[in-house]
Symmetry: D2
Subunit: 146 residues, 4 copies
């Protein structure tokens, strides 16, 4: 059984704050990748039950990023909740690619892609996607022509 | 007279610290864009004499980012100084594209591209590259086949 | 009618993350004041309907801090939700003093006090506590011998 | 031979940036403890040759904070270099107390005190001040009536 596309859209909500904003009165550019990364951390917790902290410390699974790209469409401010929609768009042998769309008040603020690889955390050696959650992760893959 | 390519390589040094690192004992992914952005802020101060703070508050010139992309090659740690080399690689009518290369101990740690546009800061309306420093900025443009 | 002491205990919950932690695998010292400040920002939004961002930009009311003190009792980690209990413990003519207690899994992690003053935001001149929400704020004051 | 008081004043300079500032156009309150902590990290590197990262990872010496207090005197902005003067003001059996004074353009912006304790980093057990650098640290103690 394959989950349908809607099921695979995970949304993480962030309350943007005064401390996130710069003198231009909008969230500082460097905060946007933080928001997207937080949403991906929440995706892991949602899909496999462990966030990066537990994966790393309890299971010796590290997931360093090798690539990020973000296009900024509209400023992010504290006036509305920031909804970060995370989707798994590609699954390699030892890597995962996410897209993250950030919206406020139903307007797209940024969109980006983020690629993580799996490593043995202590040894820092590349590993395949761990068997224990491979299936759960695969089930989240969004097939474009689905 | 055109400056040669070497003159156009501006390097900003960052002392990476404990506070930048996560439990994997390396600088957190989200810190890398911060480092690159800091280097670009320093580039402006070096080239035109004003950093983003002064540009924005004193001259009403805002320079929001519309795009960033970063490829991570090696972990960044506090063990070596992080040298961020900034180059202006493209100049549009109202935008500038920078490349930033981050090295530690002569090893490439990350490389990325960052695109800013010019706006009237208070009005948040797109403007052309300001006349008062247009020439100085143009002189920094790296021509690939130069 | 006076609210009883329990009503005056506002709790703000924070999901501590990988990005908050340092190589000692606990939230970095400098993050703790951020957490407490976030809880105070949430207190304002809860009590008067405006957070610092709206107070400052929409009502020209600034609330800079003049004092903070924090005692750290136990490490903060991503393993449990961080509950930040905020109480208004003193109300001066133009200042407010909060206590913030941070607990995880019912264990006290930190406690601190934070003092803000009221200023006209643009002019940066001290002002009294604004009439429009003075009563609501006063109603939150915790009387120790109450 | 005892170093005189002037020799014991270590100053760490910080270039405050756009990214440190909030919509009030000054460094966000939560950044000030970060600046002071960075200055203390630099003090360790200056006095014993190791920063927190090396102390922790290479020598298994952790130095968690148990107390911080900061009084804010004037706003911190990117307009001037922030000079953080660090002094060791108290030395216990297994703790150190620092004072940090932050000035910009010769005006006091903040002053605070920060207390660290020594622990075996992996075991998280309190230890005495390590013999290998005890003498060097003691030599930095500022005697008020000196």
């Amino acid at each position: 059984m394959v989950a349908n596309k809607m099921d695979k859209k995970f949304t993480h909500k962030i309350h943007v704050r005064w401390s996130d904003c710069d003198p231009a009165k909008i969230a500082f550019t460097g905060r946007i990748p933080y928001f997207a990364l937080e949403a991906i951390d929440a995706w892991w917790e949602h899909v496999i039950g462990d966030d990066w902290y537990r994966l790393n410390l309890d299971k010796n699974i590290g997931t360093p990023f090798v690539h990020i790209t973000v296009d900024f469409r509209r400023p992010v401010t504290p006036r509305h909740i920031l909804c970060c929609q995370v989707q798994l768009v590609k699954l390699g042998d030892s890597s995962v690619r996410f897209s993250v769309h950030g919206t406020q008040d139903d307007q797209l603020c940024f969109e980006g892609e983020f690629v993580e690889v799996f490593v043995a955390a202590q040894e820092h050696i590349k590993i395949g996607i761990p068997q224990e959650f491979k299936e759960r992760v695969e089930s989240q893959l969004v097939i474009e022509n689905e």
